[in-house]
C-alpha cells in the first residue's frame, strides 16, 4: 500500500515534468523553428498592419465591398468559440434561419436580380460549428460576387476569377475543392484593385 503510494507520487511528479513540460516545450520549439507562420496562428497583414488570421473568419457585414462570412453564434470571437447548439426541431433556430434568409436576399437581391430563396445555399443562412468559420461555399461566393463587383465597379468576370483563385480553401485538395477563404479573397481584392 505505502509502496504503491510512493510509486504513484513519484510517477506523477516525474511524468508531469517529462510530459507536461519537456514534451510541450520541445514541440513548441520545433514548431517555432520549422513552421513559425502556422504555429503563431497563420496571421496575415495588409500594408504592414496585422489584420487577422486566414484560419479565422471575420465579420464583414458593415462593408458591402467585401465578401461576407457565414453567420456566427459567437460574434466571430476566436477567444470564446461556440456553436448555436440549437436542435434540429428548434423553433428559435427556424426563426433565426428565416431572418438570415430575408437579410441575405435583401442584401444580394438588388445586385443579382434572378436570385430566389430556393437558390440560397445552406451555408449562407446557418451558423458554423466553430463560430469563426473562415470559409464560404462556392455557390455562396458566386452570389455575393455580383454585389462586390457592382460596389467596386469591376466586371463580374474579374471578381469571379479571384474567387476561383481562392477556391479550394482548406481542404488541401485531397477530396476536391469545397470552400472559398473569405479573408484571403477580400485581401486579394484589395491588392488587385486598390480601394
Amino acid at each position: 500500500m505505502l509502496r504503491q503510494l510512493r510509486s504513484s507520487l513519484l510517477a506523477v511528479i516525474v511524468l508531469t515534468a517529462l510530459l507536461g513540460l519537456v514534451y510541450p516545450l520541445a514541440i513548441t520549439g520545433l514548431a517555432q523553428v520549422l513552421w513559425p507562420h502556422q504555429a503563431n496562428g497563420s496571421r496575415v497583414e495588409q500594408h504592414g498592419r496585422l489584420v487577422g488570421s486566414t484560419l479565422i473568419g471575420q465579420d464583414f457585414r458593415s462593408e458591402p465591398r467585401y465578401f461576407h462570412s457565414r453567420p456566427s453564434a459567437s460574434a466571430e470571437d476566436p477567444a470564446a468559440t461556440a456553436a448555436s447548439n440549437l436542435g434540429p426541431n428548434s423553433a428559435s433556430l427556424s426563426l433565426q434561419i428565416r431572418s438570415r434568409l430575408k437579410a441575405f436576399l435583401g442584401r444580394e437581391g438588388p445586385y443579382d436580380p434572378g436570385l430566389t430563396a430556393a437558390m440560397v445555399p445552406a451555408d449562407a443562412v446557418t451558423s458554423s460549428g466553430s463560430g469563426v468559420d473562415p470559409d464560404i461555399s462556392m455557390a455562396n461566393a458566386a452570389i455575393q460576387a455580383h454585389r462586390v463587383a457592382a460596389v467596386r465597379g469591376l466586371p463580374l468576370a474579374a471578381v469571379m476569377r479571384l474567387v476561383a483563385a481562392h477556391t479550394g480553401g482548406l481542404s488541401g485538395g485531397l477530396f476536391g475543392p469545397v470552400s472559398v477563404n473569405v479573408l484571403a479573397l477580400n485581401l486579394a481584392l484589395n491588392a488587385a484593385y486598390t480601394p
Binding site: 510517477a11 506523477v12 510530459l19 514534451y23 502556422q38 462593408e63 428565416r98 484589395n190
Partner: protein, 577 residues
C-alpha cells in the same frame, strides 16, 4: 452526399486496416519486452523509470495487485489535476490571468480527464491557463491513456495464460505504453498538425483590428501538442471549447483525416495485439471485423441523415444539407465521419455541433456510445469491453446448444459470468438511472438548453457519454456558467451536473476495468481443454455474427425506449419545439 464523401470513408477504413497489424504487432513486441527500433534510444530511460517506480527487479502482479496499482496511481493523478485546477491563479504561464476554476467544476474536470473521458463543461480558451492545459490536462491525456493500454494488455495476458496467475507489472507496462507508444506517436502527430496550421506557442492573446474595422482577439496557446495526445490516447478533450471545429485545432481536410486516423489507430491495433498475445491472430481479426462492420453501419446511417435539411431549415424555406453547427471546410462528409469516429472510439473529439444534428443523425453518435464503447472504444478499455461481450456471446451460445461455454479452451463458469454481468450491464443501468434522476429533478433541468425532446436528448447524451467515458456532448447542456468578463470573474459551476457527472465518469471507468481484471485473474492459469467436435470456434465468421448480434441486442433492449423519447421522435416529426 457526394462520391468523394463515401470515398473518404473507404479510404479511412482501408488505411486503418492496413496499419492495424503493423501497429498491433509493434505494441505486442513492446509489451513482450522485445527490442524495437526505439529501444536503442529509449531503453536507458525506460530502465531507469521502471526501476524508480517498480524497484530494480519488477515482480509480476496478480490481478488484485495490478488493480491496486491502477487505483492508487489514478487517485494520485486525480488529486494532482484537481489541485492544479484549484490553484491556477498562482501558477506561471498564465498570460490571460485566469482565476482558478470553481470546486465543483474542478471535481468534474479532474474526474473527466483521469477517467479518460475528456468531457468538458468549461471552454478551454476562456478558462484554463497554458500551464493548466500542458501540465494538467494534457498530462492526463498521456497517463489515463497509458493506464487503459496497460490494463487492456494485462487483461489479454490473463485470458492467454496457461499457467500462473500473473498479469504483468503495472509500472513496467505504464512506462512502456508512455515511452514507446503514446510519446513517439504524439511527437509525429503534433508536428504534422502544426504543419497544417494548428497553433503551438506559449504566447497569450493577440488583439487586432479586422479588415472591416472591427476588433478581434486571437486566443493562442500550445494546442497541437495537447491535441495529438488527446486523439491518440482516447481522452479527446479540446484545447478550445468547440474542439476540432476550431480551425486552430483542425485546420484542413487533410488534418481532419489524420485526426480520425489517430483516434482509431491504437484501439484498432490492440485487437491485433490481442490476437498475438493469445497466440491466434484470427481471434483478433474477429474482434476487428465486428468493430469495422458496426463503424460502417454508423457511417451509413449518419451521413445520409445529415445530407438533408433539418425540420427547422425546412420550416424557414431553406433546403440543402444540414449545415447548422458544421464548418464549410469540413462539410457534412468530414463532420459526420468524425462524429462517427469520435463516438465509436471512446475519444469524443468532434469537429461539429452534435446538438444541431438531425434527429436520426444525432441518434447515431449516441447509439455508438450505448454499445458500451466496444466499437474500437477507448485505448485498452475498448479491447476489454469487447472481451466481456465475447464472454457474454459465448455464454449465450452455450445456453442455446446446452454445452458448458468455453473460450480459448477455458471453461467459462458462474464466477466469470457474474463478473461479466457487472462489467457489461452495470454501466447501461447507471446511464439510465442518472438520466432519469437528472431529467426529473429541478436542479438537473437547469443544465438543459433546448426545448422539447431535444432537452431530454441532451441529458441522455450527457450521461451516456460521461458514464461510458466518451466525452463528446450535445453541447447545449451546461455545467458551468461563464459571464462575458475577463479572467473567469463571476463564473460558477452547476453543482448537480458537475458532481453527478464527475462521479458517474469515475464509476464508469473503474467498475468495468476492475470487473475485466477480475475476469482475467479468474481465467489466468485455468486448465485448458483440447478442442473437440462439439467446441464452438470463436475465430470464425459465424462467431463474429453472433458477437455482433449480442452487442446489438444488449444495446437495443436497454436503450431503444430512451432513444425513442429523444432523438428518434424528432426524426419522425416536422414539428418545431
Amino acid at each position: 452526399m457526394t462520391a468523394s464523401g463515401w470515398l473518404q470513408v473507404g479510404l479511412l477504413l482501408v488505411v486503418l486496416t492496413a496499419i492495424t497489424p503493423l501497429l498491433g504487432g509493434y505494441i505486442h513486441r513492446v509489451f513482450s519486452g522485445e527490442r524495437v527500433l526505439l529501444t536503442r534510444l529509449l531503453g536507458p530511460v525506460e530502465r531507469r523509470l521502471s526501476a524508480l517506480l517498480a524497484g530494480p527487479e519488477p515482480a509480476a502482479q496478480e490481478w488484485k495487485g495490478y488493480a491496486g496499482s491502477v487505483l492508487m496511481f489514478s487517485a494520485v493523478c486525480w488529486l494532482a489535476l484537481f489541485l492544479i485546477l484549484r490553484t491556477q491563479s498562482i501558477q506561471p504561464l498564465n498570460p490571460q490571468g485566469f482565476r482558478s476554476a470553481p470546486w465543483d467544476l474542478s471535481f468534474n474536470t479532474a474526474s473527466s480527464f483521469v477517467s479518460n473521458t475528456g468531457w468538458q463543461f468549461y471552454g478551454g480558451e476562456r478558462t484554463l491557463s497554458n500551464f493548466a492545459q500542458m501540465a494538467g490536462i494534457a498530462v492526463q491525456g498521456f497517463l489515463s491513456g497509458a493506464v487503459g493500454i496497460a490494463a487492456g494488455v494485462a487483461i489479454a495476458r490473463g485470458f492467454a495464460n496457461r499457467a500462473g496467475k500473473e498479469l504483468g507489472n503495472f509500472w513496467v507496462d505504464l512506462v512502456r505504453a508512455l515511452l514507446y507508444v503514446l510519446l513517439p506517436l504524439s511527437i509525429v502527430g503534433s508536428a504534422f498538425l502544426v504543419s497544417q496550421g494548428a497553433i503551438q506557442t506559449l504566447a497569450g492573446d493577440v488583439h487586432l483590428s479586422t479588415l472591416a474595422g472591427g476588433s478581434q482577439t486571437l486566443a493562442l496557446g500550445p494546442a497541437a501538442s495537447q491535441k495529438a495526445v488527446m486523439l491518440l490516447g482516447s481522452n479527446g478533450g479540446g484545447f478550445f471549447a468547440v474542439n476540432s471545429a476550431m480551425p486552430f485545432e483542425d485546420p484542413t481536410g487533410l488534418a481532419n483525416f489524420l485526426e480520425m486516423l489517430m483516434m482509431l489507430a491504437i484501439p484498432a491495433a490492440l485487437t491485433a495485439t490481442y490476437g498475438r498475445i493469445v497466440g491466434n491472430r484470427r481471434q483478433g481479426w474477429v474482434l476487428y471485423a465486428v468493430m469495422l462492420v458496426m463503424f460502417l453501419g454508423a457511417a451509413a446511417v449518419a451521413y445520409p441523415a445529415e445530407s438533408r435539411p433539418s425540420p427547422a431549415m425546412r420550416a424557414a424555406g431553406v433546403h440543402g444539407v444540414n449545415m447548422e453547427g458544421k464548418d464549410q471546410r469540413l462539410q457534412v462528409s468530414d463532420s459526420t465521419l468524425m462524429a462517427v469516429a469520435g463516438t465509436t472510439t471512446g475519444n469524443g473529439s468532434t469537429d461539429t455541433a452534435l446538438d444541431s444534428f438531425t434527429g436520426l443523425g444525432g441518434s447515431v453518435p449516441m447509439a455508438n456510445i450505448m454499445t458500451g464503447e466496444v466499437i474500437f472504444g477507448a485505448v485498452g478499455s475498448g479491447l476489454y469491453g469487447m472481451l466481456l461481450m465475447v464472454l457474454l456471446a459465448v455464454f449465450v451460445a452455450g445456453l442455446m446448444v446446452g454445452r458448458t461455454p468455453e473460450y480459448l479452451g477455458k471453461r467459462i463458469e458462474a464466477r466469470e459470468i457474474k463478473l461479466v454481468t457487472i462489467g457489461a450491464i452495470a454501466v447501461p443501468l447507471i446511464v439510465l438511472f442518472m438520466t432519469a434522476w437528472a431529467i426529473s429533478a429541478r436542479y438537473g433541468m437547469r443544465s438543459i438548453f433546448n426545448a422539447g425532446p431535444q432537452g431530454f436528448s441532451e441529458t441522455l447524451y450527457a450521461y451516456t457519454s460521461q458514464v461510458n467515458n466518451n466525452g463528446s456532448a450535445f453541447g447545449g447542456y451546461v455545467g458551468f456558467l461563464q459571464p462575458h468578463a475577463p479572467g473567469n470573474t463571476g463564473a460558477s459551476g452547476v453543482t448537480f451536473a458537475d458532481l453527478a457527472g464527475g462521479a458517474a465518469m469515475l464509476v464508469g471507468r473503474f467498475l468495468p476495468m476492475l470487473a475485466a481484471l477480475a475476469v482475467a485473474g479468474s481465467l489466468s492459469g485455468k486448465r485448458t481443454i483440447a478442442a473437440g467436435e462439439g467446441t464452438m470456434r470463436t475465430d470464425t465468421g459465424v462467431f463474429a455474427v453472433l458477437l455482433l448480434a449480442t452487442i446489438a441486442i444488449v444495446a437495443l433492449l436497454t436503450f431503444v425506449p430512451s432513444l425513442m423519447l429523444g432523438p428518434l421522435v424528432q426524426a419522425l416529426t416536422p414539428r418545431l419545439f
